[in-house]
Amino acid sequence: MTGTAALAERTYQLLLSVRFWRGAVATIVFIVLWEIAARAGISRVPAPSAVVVTFNDLMRDPSYWFSWYLSTRRVFAGFLIAMLVGIPLGLAMAVSRAFYGVVFPVFEVLRPIPPLAWVPAAIIFWPTQELSIMFVTFLGAFYTIVINVIGGAQTIDLRYYQAARSMGSSGWDVFRRIILPGTVPSIVVGATVGIGIAWAVVVAAEMISGGGSAGSMGGAKGGGLGFFIWNSYVGGSYTQIVVGMISIGVAGYISSAALRKLGEMVTPWLREQ
């Protein structure tokens, strides 16, 4: 099969590249130094070898994976709503001066409030813990997305509007064929940054709020990755703390990489030749 052959070829190329080896060696050196520091008692962070043992145990623990599931669900729910609300809002602000004048000042006052400052208010206002956490996650992604959409739409070159108008485009044509595609690259940037923030926020929100009401499965461990870390800390399991931290790093990386890939698919004109 050509697909497999291509993949094999690509893997082979990767193994030959200096870039790959530079990264690989750096990672190995980091882990080795960490191990030495832990064994020598310089650092109280558990050694990588101990973390691997714990991770191996957790792999078979459904409640660990349930934490993954819960956090992922919250991040994506908050993120998707942020996209659904943020993109039209940003576009409307970019297109209509009046709308911009009304909404932007309010937006700018709310924007500097860190999403985590909303946690207590969110817990009070939303009926369930789950919704409160999703709301805070939503806020984390929302501002970045809106700002990027506004910026993207406003920096579309005037010549494109003039050319479109000159060729007989209606206002709707200009919106659909110029403003919308012209803003897509900025939407992709906003989404990629936004989902990173959503991951940062969800973890902290889970810690503060105690993991939410969905933590029925596996007891307290079912409250998402943030609560998983907090619970490990309270329970004195330091290796689990590290596993939790790395899990979040991996989750954030996968989300951003997936969005970047998706972004490349919707902006074929920006692809490197």
């Binding site: 479109a164 108008r165 000159s166 209606s170 064929r177 595609p181 004109w269």
Partner: protein
């Protein structure tokens, strides 16, 4: 061969002041000249002299302060109508190009007829492909503008303009960013397009050789405020090719006008007009 009998632009007493009437910048002052139908008229002047202001007024991107501009019998702008409506009868080809980067070449070229609802999508694409083939660009159809050279982009843009069957093409220093070798290729390509379509061309440049090589009529502008200083009829028959550049007649036209242009360039320089 299509030969539109119409497509004449008459510019009469046009004034454009940016800012207020008293303290504003007078970009165009009492400017009067004709752009004959089915001919190439080249407007020459130093950078920033106000010639783009004139083009923008014809295209309908900017208003004028007073005067009138007619396209055939239609008053584009004048008393009671400060700004013309942009329309597909006058298509602009921009200085830095304005192909939509998110559309492929063929999508760009098919844009006009589709948004005007003149042709169904499929027919518009077929026509666009024919248009590209005519200009020798058919192998670029599915590329994005960012993937082709800037010289090719200009040719695609002219093809896109012609898809609208415009009466007038407005070209704003379209070859400015190109190197001189590419430029010479572009000139011949443009003349070829002109010979095929006989559309009225309004061409702006600061390059006198380019002006005389391309134009039936060359209008040399004074620098800010802009108005015609000298109008030259270039009596070298079309179709022209590059041998014209070394012809005696061509050199004579150059001799006749170079001083006028240089004078304005000096004035512009003294006034501190910068290259934009």
């Amino acid at each position: 061969m299509r030969r539109p009998s119409k497509g004449e632009i008459r510019i009469a007493n046009v004034v454009k002041i940016y800012g207020s009437e008293e303290v504003g910048i007078r970009a165009v002052d009492d400017c009067t000249f004709d752009v004959p139908a089915g001919k190439i008229t080249v407007v020459v002047g130093p950078s920033g002299c106000g010639k783009t202001t004139l083009l923008n007024a014809i295209a309908g991107f900017h208003s004028i302060t007073s005067g009138t501009i007619h396209l055939d019998d239609l008053m584009l702008c004048g008393p009671g109508r400060a700004q013309a409506d942009p329309g597909p009868d006058r298509i602009v080809v921009f200085q830095n190009g304005a192909l939509f980067p998110w559309k492929t070449i063929v999508e760009n070229v098919a844009f006009g007829p589709i948004v005007q609802g003149r042709l169904p999508r499929k027919e518009a694409f077929d026509k666009a492909r024919r248009m590209l083939a005519e200009s020798g660009l058919h192998n670029l159809e599915s590329n994005y503008p960012g993937e082709i050279s800037s010289g090719m982009r200009r040719r695609v843009e002219i093809a896109r303009a012609l898809m609208n069957d415009p009466k007038v093409l407005l070209l704003d220093e379209p070859y400015r960013a190109l190197d001189s070798l590419t430029k010479s290729v572009m000139h011949e390509a443009l003349l070829e397009v002109f010979d095929r379509n006989q559309v009225t061309i309004f061409f702006i440049t600061h390059d006198l050789e380019e002006a005389i090589f391309l134009g039936h009529r060359v209008v040399i502008m004074t620098t800010r405020p802009c108005r015609p200083k000298k109008i030259l009829t270039v009596d070298i028959p079309h179709p022209r090719d590059y041998s014209v550049l070394t012809a005696k007649r061509f050199r004579e036209y150059l001799d006749e006008t170079v001083e006028a242009v240089h004078e304005e360039a000096l004035k512009a320089f003294a006034a501190g007009e910068r290259e934009r």
